[in-house]
C-alpha cells in the first residue's frame, strides 16, 4: 500500500515537473536557446494565481486559464524584447544572460510581494483524501495527475496532428530548411515560446500549494528542471515526460526510503545518463553547427 502511495505521489510530482519543463524542452530543442529564466516564468505563474485569488476574488479553477494567458503574454514580450537578440550566441552567453534575468526576477518578486511564502487556498473539494478500497490518495494530487494526463494528450496531439505542430517539428528538425521552404520561423518561435511560457506559468500555479511560492522558487527548482530537460532529451516531448515522471518518483521514493541519501541518487543517475547519452534519453544526435 505504501509503495502505491509513493508511486502515486511521485507520478503527481512528475506531471507537475513535466508541465513546468515541457516548454523549456521544446524551445531549447528548437532554438538551441538555454533559457534558465523559464523557472522565473513558473514563479510568476504562482504569483499571478495567488494575486488573482486574493485581490480579484476569483475561484481556484478560473485562475488557471488566466495564469496561462498572463504568463504567455509576459513571455512573448520577453522573447520579442530581449531573448530573440541572443539566438545566435553561444551556450555560455545565454546561460549568463538568463541567470541575470533570474536574479532580477527573484529580487523584483521579493520587492512587490515580499520575501515570505504566499498562502494558497485550495477549494474544499480538492483538499483532503479520497478512499480507493483502502488506498488513501490526496484529492489535489489526483487533480494534478488528471490535468497532467489531459495536457500531455493535448500537447502530443497538437504537435503530431495539427498544422502548427508540423511547423514546430519542422523548426526543431532543421531550422534553415524550414525557413527556406517559406515558413515564418520567427513567428513559430514566438508562438512556441508563448505556449511554453504559458505552460510554465500554469505549472507554477498548480505547484504553488504543493511546493510553495516564494522568491527563492527559481533557485530551488532550476536544477530539477534542467535535469528533466537534459535527461529526457531537448525537443522531445515523450522524453521529457519520461524523465519528469522518473525524477518525480525517484525524488519521492528516496525521501521516504533513503532520507540519508538526499538528492545524491538523482544526481548520480543524471551524471550517468549524460555520460551514456549526452543528447538525452530520446534526444537525437546533433552536430555542433
Amino acid at each position: 500500500m505504501i509503495i502505491l502511495t509513493i508511486l502515486f505521489n511521485g507520478v503527481a510530482y512528475g506531471f507537475l515537473l513535466f508541465i513546468m519543463a515541457v516548454g523549456l524542452s521544446v524551445t531549447m530543442g528548437m532554438m538551441r536557446f538555454v533559457n534558465l529564466a523559464h523557472v522565473s516564468l513558473c514563479m510568476l505563474g504562482g504569483y499571478v494565481m495567488v494575486t488573482a485569488m486574493s485581490k480579484l476574488g476569483l475561484s481556484f479553477l478560473s485562475t488557471l486559464p488566466l495564469t496561462f494567458v498572463a504568463t504567455a503574454l509576459f513571455s512573448i514580450a520577453l522573447e520579442r524584447l530581449v531573448l530573440r537578440f541572443f539566438y545566435g550566441t553561444d551556450d555560455l552567453t545565454q546561460v549568463l544572460l538568463t541567470i541575470g534575468l533570474v536574479f532580477m526576477s527573484v529580487s523584483s518578486v521579493a520587492y512587490f510581494w515580499g520575501p515570505t511564502f504566499q498562502p494558497v487556498n485550495i477549494p474544499a473539494w480538492l483538499s483532503g483524501q479520497a478512499d480507493f478500497g483502502g488506498l488513501l490518495l490526496e484529492r489535489y494530487r489526483l487533480f494534478l495527475v488528471a490535468i497532467g494526463i489531459v495536457l500531455t494528450v493535448v500537447i502530443l496531439f497538437g504537435v503530431e496532428r495539427t498544422r502548427f505542430g508540423a511547423m514546430v517539428r519542422a523548426c526543431v528538425d532543421n531550422r534553415r530548411a524550414a525557413s527556406g521552404s517559406g515558413l515564418n520561423t520567427q513567428l513559430v518561435f514566438a508562438l512556441t515560446f508563448a505556449i511554453g511560457g504559458g505552460l510554465a506559468g500554469l505549472g507554477g500555479a498548480l505547484s504553488a500549494s504543493l511546493l510553495g511560492s516564494d522568491p527563492n522558487f527559481p533557485f530551488r527548482y532550476l536544477v530539477y528542471m534542467l535535469i528533466v530537460v537534459s535527461v529526457g532529451g531537448m525537443g522531445t516531448i515523450v522524453g521529457t515526460l519520461i524523465s519528469a515522471l522518473a525524477l518525480g518518483i525517484a525524488d519521492v521514493a528516496t525521501k521516504y526510503y533513503l532520507p540519508a541519501a538526499g538528492g545524491s541518487i538523482i544526481y548520480i543517475v543524471t551524471v550517468a545518463v549524460m555520460l551514456w547519452r549526452p543528447q538525452g534519453l530520446l534526444g537525437r544526435k546533433v552536430g555542433h553547427a
Binding site: 555560455l92 541575470g100 520587492y111 536544477v223 544526481y267 549524460m274
Partner: protein
C-alpha cells in the same frame, strides 16, 4: 637584403609573449600599496584576491580552453575542507597544508577532466553541475564528519613561518593571500604563455585542426582541468586559513554561478579579468547588501544582463578596445 636580424625565432616569440607590460606591474603594485594605506579594508581586499584567484582557475578552462564548467565550486570546496580538516586535526602549519589541499583538489580535477573530456554543450554543463551538487549534498548531510550546515569549526592555523600570527585585523592574512596569489598567478601566466598554453588555445579555436596537427587535445584538456582545480583548491584553502572556518556554502552551486558571473564581468582569457570582476562584484555586493539587504541581487542581475548584451567581452577587453581605438588616430596622423 638579408633579414636574419628581424627573422622571428621561437625563443624570441615566447619571450615577446611573456613580456611584462607597465599595466601589469602597476596592477600588482596597487595591491602592495593598499596594504600601507591606513584604514584600508584588508579583510575585504583579501576576499577579492581569493575570488580573483578562484576566477583565474576557471579562466584556465573557460577562457583558454573554451570549456564552461558549472561545478568549479566543488574544487574550491575540496581545497577549503581539506585545509579545514588538516587544521582541525593537528596539521596546523599553513603552507604545507595549502599544498596538500591544492594537490587533493588537483587530483579531483584530473578525474573530472577525464570524465568530461568527450562532452559538449548542455551535457557538459549538466555533468559538471551534477558532480558539484553530489559533493555538496554529501558534505551537507554528513553532519558528524563535516558539521553539516553549521560548517567545520575549531580550525587552528599555526603562525606563518613560525613568526607571524593570523591577527584579527587581517594584516598577516592579507600579505599571505597576496603572496600566494601572486606566486600562483606567475605559474599560470607562464603556463598560458608557454607552448602548452598555445596548444590549449589552438584546441579552443579549432579542435579538429589541432588534432590533425598531432596535438594531444584530450590529454591537454584533462591536465588543464586538473591544474585549474588545483588553483581553485588553493583559493579555497586560503579562504579557510584566513577565516579559520569552513561552511558548506564554499561548494554550493550558488558559488559556481557567482564565479562565472565574476569572470564574465571582468573578461575571459585575460588573466586579470577574474581579479577585476572580483573587485567589482565583491565591492558592489558589500555596498549594496548594506544598502538594500534583500534586493541587491537585482542590480547584480542587471549588471550581468547589460554586460552580456552590450559588452559581450566584459570590462577589461572593452577597456582595451577603447584604448586601441583612442591610440589609432594619433598614430595615423603621424
Amino acid at each position: 637584403m638579408l633579414e636574419t636580424t628581424n627573422k622571428p625565432t621561437a625563443f624570441g616569440f615566447f619571450r615577446e609573449r611573456a613580456r611584462w607590460s607597465y599595466w601589469e606591474i602597476a596592477f600588482w603594485l596597487c595591491w602592495v600599496v593598499a596594504f600601507f594605506i591606513p584604514g584600508a579594508n584588508l579583510v575585504l581586499l583579501g576576499q577579492v584576491l581569493v575570488w580573483g584567484l578562484f576566477a583565474l582557475a576557471l579562466d584556465l578552462v573557460l577562457g583558454y580552453r573554451g570549456i564552461p564548467s558549472l561545478g568549479h565550486a566543488a574544487f574550491f570546496g575540496i581545497g577549503a575542507y581539506a585545509a579545514g580538516f588538516l587544521g582541525k586535526y593537528g596539521w596546523t602549519e599553513p603552507i604545507s597544508a595549502l599544498l596538500v589541499a591544492g594537490l587533493l583538489a588537483g587530483v579531483a580535477g584530473l578525474v573530472t577532466g577525464r570524465i568530461v573530456r568527450g562532452l559538449h554543450g548542455v551535457s557538459l554543463l549538466m555533468v559538471t553541475l551534477g558532480l558539484n551538487l553530489l559533493l555538496f549534498d554529501f558534505v551537507y548531510r554528513s553532519t558528524e564528519l563535516t558539521g553539516g550546515a553549521d560548517g567545520l569549526q575549531g580550525v587552528t592555523v599555526a603562525p606563518l613561518l613560525g613568526l607571524f600570527r593570523f591577527d584579527m585585523r587581517g594584516n598577516t592574512a592579507y600579505v599571505y593571500v597576496l603572496v600566494v596569489t601572486f606566486i600562483v598567478f606567475l605559474a599560470v601566466r607562464a603556463l598560458v604563455n608557454s607552448a602548452w598554453g598555445l596548444s590549449l588555445m589552438g584546441a579552443r579555436d579549432n579542435p579538429r585542426r589541432m588534432t590533425m596537427l598531432g596535438a594531444p587535445v584530450a590529454e591537454d584538456l584533462t591536465w588543464a582541468f586538473g591544474i585549474s582545480a588545483m588553483v581553485a583548491g588553493i583559493a579555497g584553502a586560503l579562504l579557510t586559513q584566513t577565516t579559520q572556518f569552513v561552511s558548506p556554502e564554499t561548494l554550493s552551486f550558488q558559488r559556481s554561478a557567482d564565479l562565472l558571473v565574476i569572470l564574465v564581468i571582468g573578461g575571459v582569457a585575460m588573466l586579470y579579468g577574474g581579479f577585476v570582476g572580483a573587485l567589482v562584484f565583491i565591492v558592489l555586493r558589500d555596498q549594496l547588501a548594506a544598502l538594500l539587504p534583500i534586493y541587491w541581487y537585482f542590480w547584480i542581475g542587471l549588471l550581468l544582463v547589460l554586460i552580456v548584451a552590450f559588452f559581450r567581452k566584459g570590462i577589461l577587453p572593452s577597456l582595451r578596445m577603447l584604448l586601441v581605438r583612442l591610440r589609432q588616430p594619433r598614430e595615423g596622423s603621424r
